[in-house]
Symmetry: none
Subunit: 117 residues, 2 copies
């Protein structure tokens, strides 16, 4: 049940994408889709956030009708979900961590501009 719904929701994303977002290994996420193990409550919450559905839907308590809404929403989104959830996370992170990351960003930028000159 939950496996089918995850598969459907994931759509064009790779399992790797979702796993990275969740901060778990690829195979762990694979287990969820194949129902070899089930996500704990925290992971369940994250999955619902990422796919923008209810946990009731993920757990099979709600029918299909809500799915279409979500699909439409995803398809019309301009920011890729992975980047979007990354932004959400970063916004809520401690300032110290934000600043550190922006420093890394500056390094990445300058490295790439050197390569291309």
């Amino acid at each position: 049940m939950i496996g089918d719904r995850l598969k459907k929701l994931r759509d064009k994303h790779t399992q790797e994408d979702i796993a990275q977002y969740l901060g778990i290994s690829r195979s762990r996420y694979s287990h969820y889709e194949n129902e070899r193990s089930e996500p704990d409550n925290k992971t369940l919450n994250k999955l619902a956030d990422f796919f923008d559905v209810s946990t009731d839907y993920l757990l099979g308590r709600e029918g299909e009708c809500d799915t279409k809404k979500n699909k439409t929403k995803h398809q019309t989104e301009l920011i890729p979900p992975l980047l979007d959830s990354f932004f959400q996370e970063l916004k809520e992170a401690p300032k110290e961590q934000q600043e550190l990351l922006i420093k890394f960003w500056d390094i990445i930028k300058s490295e790439y501009s050197i390569k291309n000159n």
Copy 2:
């Protein structure tokens, strides 16, 4: 979170009552209320059925005062200019660079969570 909600919902019932309905031991249900362990998905479903609430409610995704939504909105309004321009830049950057940065982000997160555990 889930513990508080279970306690509230149980109301006049004893833990024994609920445990019997779920077909589990008394102390196991007690652990759920005290958040020493968390119900698996099947038990979560049964609990939602018994109390006639959504799993989203049990997991704290819906609430009395809908704190999550308010919080998100508030924080969205308060994106510091530095972070905002960083987002703009990142959105338009090559995927390769985006992915590299997100990897750095994962490292930062895990470093900080180690410190705080």
